[in-house]
Amino acid sequence: MLNFKINSNEIDKIGKFTKEEKYFRLKNLNHFNDIGFPNKRNEDWKFSDLKEIVSKNFNKLELKLEKSKKPKIDFIKDFEHNYIVIINGELTYSDFKYEEKDKIKLQPFINEDYSDSKKHNPLLNLNHALSDKGYFLDVKENYKFKKVLVIYHLFTEDLDENILNSKNKIKIGKNSELHFLEFTINESKKNFFNNVYEDIILEKSAALKSIYLQNDKSFGYFHKYSRNSLSSDSNYTSFIFPTGHKFNKLDLEFNLEGERSECNLQSASFLDDNVHQEVKTRVNHLFPNCKSYQKVKNVLNAESKGVYQGKIFVKDVAQKTDAYQLSKAILLSELSEFDSKPELEIYADDVKCSHGSTSGNLDKDSIYYLMTRGLTKKESTKLLVNGFLNEVVDSIKSNSIRNFVKNKLENQFINEY
């Protein structure tokens, strides 16, 4: 059993800090050391016992990591784009060749918020204590990006039972618009742990579209906590394709903090082998006339496990809320498992909230029909699975990006089936 306790001098190794920051880090470190990795007794982790998962799969967790040489990136050629390159969580270089430079600020992340030290998620405490990398992208007011931004996340070959803690922040100014693709490229061959804290802020009437996609498989254990704040009239559309890592938990919080703000989240996953993946959402409707939409689709093969925990919270003042949530899962194997826990907590009376959850096997009659037309059982299954997941991909508006995503998903994952 791995006993992962961290000495407080690890904080000093990161750098010199103000008294206030040092105290913040120390306090969070103590919280983490008290509890360690969360286990299933923690309600938020009841379907993903991380303590057990980590102790089963890691001998150690190394905090130190030599800076790797600048690896070559295989840039996407399918569409023109700006880019940022992040290597093992660290901001390395960027190119905004299609944009007005003075409208964009990009810098390594510096945390100035020392308010969060609650004991709700030990991984957050760990991140607050030890985070030493990340970026801050600031899009100024009244600026619409001309081309998409690709954020390349590269994980290098020399990773070996390392744990990476990073913090990223993206702020979209008033009336501004950004579309980005967060694209993970993996070169690592061994286990590692990637613990990310993300802060996304949409100011008034800002628009953001994002896609989260993995290029290849990894032995990575990923956890991301993402806090998304939406001001009035802002709009956030997010497509997530989390599959690719051994373990991935996306803990996404959307705060609708201004009237008429809207968030739209769609997810599609094909889980294979003994992959464990969780999407957890919490949408907080805090103001009137806001809209939220969530659709989460999972296909589970072999011994994989998928989890969806989705909570919609509607504050008493948030009248005319329109909230929708749907989870659909298909189990291809008897050894796979899917858990879903939808939750509604509503304090306003004039709201439209609906949620639904289905999970089951592929429709036998559909397979039979396709087979009578000469397709094998496997081909029929593949066609149906593709059809099921492509419904999400098909909502991506840009042709070139949609086709890119489709190809990636079909090649890397579904074709392995």
Binding site: S366, Y368, L370, T372, R373, L375, L383, G387
Partner: protein, 244 residues
């Protein structure tokens, strides 16, 4: 072409086919009529290779037993079933599906895959022949198709896959008079001295358009009477009770 001897089929411990015999030679068209629940669709399903049935008796196709042959292999060998109730399949594009299916069948028969252009030409020709809107093929397979459109889509697949043994399970039910004529013409233009048809129907009317060589009455899991087209006309008058 097809030789069925003493076929028994049961599902969920319910015996449905009880010693059925039929023999179909190349070029022949056989019609099967029979009351609801007599086992017509069950026979069609069993011929297609559908799983879940307990089967005994002989089932020979082109001189070989079908016993160990899977659903997809039967299709590749030229057995085609037009369904009584075609399945709606969300997320699967009709045209892509048709092409995948055609290429599977072609490949199994040692032909090379059809290229995109020839496929489009083929589709255009066949949809026009059947009075179908080509745009329907950009939709999800059978999803939201009207009853008649679904049936036409089955005949379209038959025309494209060009099978040897064609089983039509109540393809005429739910078709309007014009559509019935078009579908019948579609069947007639496919007839030649190599293909065989097994046409399941409730209505003598269809047999005015498609001339059967033989008519069989299936009742309670057995063929109780066989004859020519006159039998269908007689049935129309007397109903099934007048048989035996």
């Amino acid at each position: 072409m097809l030789e069925i001897k003493d076929l028994n089929a049961s599902i969920n411990d319910k015996l449905i086919l009880k010693g059925l015999n039929i023999s179909i030679k190349p070029g022949e068209l056989h019609a099967i009529m029979g009351p609801n629940g007599s086992g017509k669709s069950t026979l069609a399903n069993v011929l297609s290779g559908k799983e879940g049935y307990n089967i005994s008796g002989e089932l020979n196709y082109l001189g070989k037993s079908l016993n160990e042959i899977s659903i997809d292999e039967r299709a590749q060998k030229g057995i085609f079933l037009a369904f009584q109730y075609p399945t709606e399949i969300p997320g699967v594009n009709t045209s892509n599906f048709l092409r995948t299916s055609l290429n599977k069948v072609r490949k199994a028969q040692g032909k090379k895959e059809i290229d995109a252009l020839s496929f489009l030409k083929l589709i255009k020709e066949k949809t026009t022949e059947l009075g179908m809107d080509e745009k329907m093929l950009t939709r999800q397979l059978n999803v939201g198709f009207s009853g008649g459109e679904k049936k036409k889509n089955e005949i379209l697949q038959m025309k494209i896959l060009d099978p040897n043994l064609i089983i039509l399970d109540e393809t005429d039910s739910g078709l309007d008079i014009d559509a019935l004529r078009i579908v019948a013409d579609g069947v007639n233009s496919s007839r030649d001295n190599k293909k065989s048809f097994l046409v399941i129907t409730h209505y003598q009317r269809l047999l005015n358009f498609i001339k059967p060589d033989f008519v069989h009455v299936l009742s309670n899991g057995k063929i109780v009477k066989s004859g020519n087209k006159e039998l269908a006309i007689q049935l129309e008058k007397t109903g099934y009770k007048g048989i035996n």
